[in-house]
Symmetry: C2
Subunit: 351 residues, 2 copies
Amino acid sequence: MPFDIETPAVLVDLDIAEANIDRFQSYCSSHGIRCRPHIKTHKLPFLARRQVAAGAVGITCQKISEAEAMIADGGLEDVLLTYNVVGQAKLARLVGLARKVRLSVVADSEAVVRGLSGAFAGTGVTLAVLVECDTGAHRCGVMTPEAARDLAIVIDRSAGLTFGGLMTYPPVGAARAVENFMVSARDLCAAAGITVPVISSGGAPDMWTAHLSPAVSEYRSGTYVYNDRSLVARKVCGWDDCALTVLATVVSTPEPARAVIDAGTKILTSDLLGLAGYGHVLGRPDLRIDQLSEEHGRITADGPTGLSVGDQIRIVPNHACVVSNMVDSLHTLRDGRPAGVVAVAGRGRLV
Amino acid sequence: MPFDIETPAVLVDLDIAEANIDRFQSYCSSHGIRCRPHIKTHKLPFLARRQVAAGAVGITCQKISEAEAMIADGGLEDVLLTYNVVGQAKLARLVGLARKVRLSVVADSEAVVRGLSGAFAGTGVTLAVLVECDTGAHRCGVMTPEAARDLAIVIDRSAGLTFGGLMTYPPVGAARAVENFMVSARDLCAAAGITVPVISSGGAPDMWTAHLSPAVSEYRSGTYVYNDRSLVARKVCGWDDCALTVLATVVSTPEPARAVIDAGTKILTSDLLGLAGYGHVLGRPDLRIDQLSEEHGRITADGPTGLSVGDQIRIVPNHACVVSNMVDSLHTLRDGRPAGVVAVAGRGRLV
C-alpha cells in the first residue's frame, strides 16, 4: 500500500533508529568506551536526547549554529564541537554557548588557540580544548605526537582555557595508527606534566572495532543511528538496519528497462562514497539508480523494471547524513507506518 | 580587505548577474528566440522579475512548490513547469497554480496526460501541455517524433487540456538531433491537423548556439544568470562572468602545501559535472580543492599555499544551481561590496 505522503520525502523508521542507538550503546558500555554520538546524521534534538538517555556522555556537533539548534529545547548538557572555531563573530557565539552547556572544542594550531583564549579569558567561563590529531586522514590535525604535546602545553598555559584531551577523526581501518599516535602523544604529555583526560576517536565504518584501540576512551559515531548504503557495503550493518529512506514516485517510464523518479540530487545528493550509483531501491536489488540530476533520478535494469508511472519506491541513500540536510522536515515511521512529521532543527546550519 | 560576513556564505554579485541576464536576452532577441529562464539557478523572485523585465517571455520552474514560492510576491505571470506532475495532491496544487498564472506543463506519457486531464476537466481552467521529447539525454521524454505526434493528439482530445507544443532538454552539442526530431514531430503534427505553438529547448552549455536549431522558438537556460566553473570549463563564459561565489575561511594549515577551509559539501555540494576538484579559488588558479567532507574543504598546491588561518577565499563552484539550494539566505554584492542579505525563497522546494 503506498504512503499518503507527497514525494520526494525522507522517512525515518524510529523503531530501527532506536534499536541502532541501543545496540551501539551496548557495545560501547561493554567495552568501557564513552559514547558521544555525532548529531550531524539526524540533526534532531529528540533523537540526540534519546541517545543520551541510552547512555551517551554527550553529543558531538560540527558547527556552532548546529549546536545552538540542538540545545535550544534543553535536555542536552554536554557538547563537543569538533571544529576549529575561527573569527570574532563565531568566538562570541561560542562564549554564549559555553554559558549554557558543558562545552569543549578542538584546535590544531596556536592561531586557533590564541583566538579561543582571547575570547574566553576574563569571561569567567573556562573552555576545554582538545588537540586534534591527524592519524592519517590528512584533513585537519597536528601531524605528530610531539606537535600534539606542544599544543597541549600552549592550551594548558592559555588564559580562559583548559586542556581537554586528544581527538582524531581517523581514516577507515586505522586502529593501529590511532593507537600508536595516541599512546605516544599521551606519554609525551605525561612527561610534560600534563594529564590527558579524554582520547576521542570516531567514524561509523570502524565503530564495531573501536575497542581495538585501547587508548581510545571516547568514540564518536554519527551514521550508526540511521545507517546507509555505504555502511551496508562495508558490512557494518544490513538493509534491515537502515532507518532512513527516501520515498520517491515514478514519473516516467520511457522504455521497459528505464524509469525516472522524482528524487534527484536535491534530496539524495551527489555523494557516491566510492559506490556505483546513487542508492539502493529497497526490495529491488536488480534496479540501478545510475544517474541523478537535480529533480530526476534515472533507474535502469538489465530487463524490464516493472515500474509504472505513479509507483512509489523507497531508497536507502549512499550517505544518510547529507540527506537529512536537504529537507526542512521528515516523516517518522512507527511499526512501518507514518507516525508524524518533524522539523529537522539542525538542517542548513553552516556557520 | 576581508568581508565582514560569517562564513561559509554565498555571495551573489548583482552587477555581474544583471549583465549576464541582459547579454543572453540580447542574443535571444537578436535571433528571434523567446527567452524563458529556468529559475532553479537563483531561486529568487526578484531576479526572475529582472529577467522578465529584460524581455523574457516567462519563467521555467521544475516543481510546483518552487513555482508557488516564485509567484508568491506577484510580478510573474507565465510559468512553464518542465516536469511530469503525478499524484492527486500535486495535481490539486497544480490547479490552484493555474488559477493564478498562465501555466503550462509537460508530459511524456498517456498516464501523465490522464492525470492532468482528470484534474483540470470541469474546473473552467485549461492547462497547456507540451510533449517532452527525448533528443538524446535519455532521461524523460517520448523517444520518437511519431510518439510525440501521438501524444499531442491525446492531449488535444483531452478535456481540460490544450496542446502547448514540444519541449526537450537535449544533451550538450545536440543541435542537429534537436532540429531533426523537432522538424519531424512538427510536420507529423501538422499532417494530423495539429499546430505546434512552441518548440522549447534548453541547456546553458549550448545557449550561445541556440540559433543553430532554427525550429526551436523558445530557449530555457538557468545557469547563465550566475555562470559557474562548469561553464567556464566549456568556454561558455569567463571567471569575470561568474556572479555566484562561496566565501570561505581558512581554519587549518597543517603543512605548507595544504590548507583546510570551512566550506564542504553542505555548501559546495559533491557535484563534479565531469571536473576534477570542487571549485575554483578566485585569483588562485594554482590551488586545488581536492577533497570535501560535509564541513571541510581541503586545498592543496604543488608548492606552499601561502594561506593562513583566518584568511578568506572566494570560490566559483562547479555547479551554481545546487549551491543556491544549500543556503537559506545569501549576500548580494554591488560594486563588489556587500549590499544586503536576501532569503532564497525557492530553496528546498522538493515537491
